[in-house]
Amino acid sequence: MNLLFYVPLLLKGALITLSAWIVAGIVSLMIGTFLGIVSCRYLAGTKIRMFVKCYTFIAKGVPAYVQILIAYFVIPALLGINIYGFFAAVSALAFCSSGYVTEIIRSGINTVSRGQWDASFVLGYSIKATLLRIILPQAFKNVVPSLFGELEQLLKSTSLLATIGITELTRAGMNIISRELNPVVIYLTIACMYLLFSAVLQLIVMYAEA
């Protein structure tokens, strides 16, 4: 088997994997950061806290695979619309991941001492300035390893896109195997490519923590 012949196919799959990962990661970080902030100990009211608790319960409690299936098959059937597979899968991954990111961000904010909030208050900081200049920089520093761990998990979850027929990296490999009947080389190649993405992420973590 000439592996080089299939390199463009694998690269195309890798590109879809990276696209899904980046889009889902950004959306997950945005939703998770917002919900983590509004549900933190010093800001949240009872209703908001309950809402976020329900959100994270569902997002974390239902497997990502099932969420993708619901997003692709159930929601379009209920709403009577067509949803593009990539959009459905990425939305489901972002939703699932945002549940974890919410908890990571909230716990990070809660580890910043009450005194930092009080000091910001007596110095006349607005809530926005307190969060952006004082609390979040300290909270993010505390949660960088957990946050990147979640992003790494999200990267691996993108292989679930294959289940609804999206030709991401794993699916591309499976297609090649069905043609060449040589799973060893292809699966090992795919594994190496995932490891490469993870290694890049690890380097970013090391840089962020330095």
């Binding site: 005194g115 009080d118 000091a119 208050f121 007596v122 110095l123 006349g124 200049r133 004082i134 520093k141």
Partner: protein
């Protein structure tokens, strides 16, 4: 000048301040003494707006404090916490300049003010250090400088000598005297009687959330 009338504060359904009335005149150091749990810290926190009151009034320059915005209040009242609460991720310099920049003061003016205040508390050599790299006394000085940068009329200090050795306590006492001479009203909660004796102008003795004695000079009841 700050005037407190019949202040009542309730925390977790328990009255922690009961009808407290007192005043902090400009240019004087007013000391609140009493055992732990007497209500000194809660009183200072109420004045700074950190604790909600149930009843009573707090008047600054003939204005009820609740009518002031958070920014106006912070311009009038500076607060130095018992454990300093310096921003851990910011250097000494940035701890002091950030509150000024947040309120839109031009950098050049803020920079000048910060350098002057750090000079005043003898911390000019430590501008690039982080709070974790400083001793308790040095952190205390930075906390005072940070509060003074906003040019408050009133400076409140909660147990300012709790983390200090006797030498540093005396230095803080000298600094507070200097600030009082600059016509700042200073309120200090402390149970360090040696320090209290050094700074005393007038004071109140507290017990169980009530002012039990008003003192005009050290050791003398009013």
């Amino acid at each position: 000048m700050i005037i407190v009338k019949k202040l009542v504060v309730e925390l977790q359904k328990k009255l922690v301040l009961r009808f407290v009335s007192c005043s902090l005149p400009q240019g004087k150091i007013t000391v609140f003494i009493g055992k732990s749990g007497a209500g000194k810290t809660i009183l200072l926190k109420s004045l700074a707006g950190l604790v909600n009151r149930k009843d009573g009034s707090i008047i600054i320059d003939d204005k009820e404090i609740s009518t002031l915005t958070a920014r106006q209040r912070s311009e009038k009242i500076g607060y130095v916490f018992q454990d300093f609460n310096l921003f851990a991720h910011l250097s000494v310099y940035r701890n002091c300049i950030d509150p000024l920049l947040v309120r839109g003061i031009p950098f050049a003016q803020a920079d000048l003010c910060v350098k002057e205040m750090l000079e005043c508390v003898e911390m000019s050599l430590y501008v690039n250090k982080y709070p974790a790299e400083l001793s308790g006394g040095q952190q205390q000085r930075v906390a005072i400088a940070r509060a003074l940068c906003l040019n408050p009329q009133i400076l409140l200090l909660d147990e300012p000598t709790a983390a200090l050795d006797p030498e540093n306590s005396s230095n803080i006492a000298l600094l507070l005297r200097k600030l009082a001479r600059a016509n700042i009203a200073i309120g200090v909660a402390s149970h360090d009687m040696i320090f209290v004796k050094e700074i005393f102008d007038r004071g109140y003795k507290m017990k169980d959330g009530i002012i039990v004695e008003s003192l005009d000079s050290y050791g003398q009841e009013n």
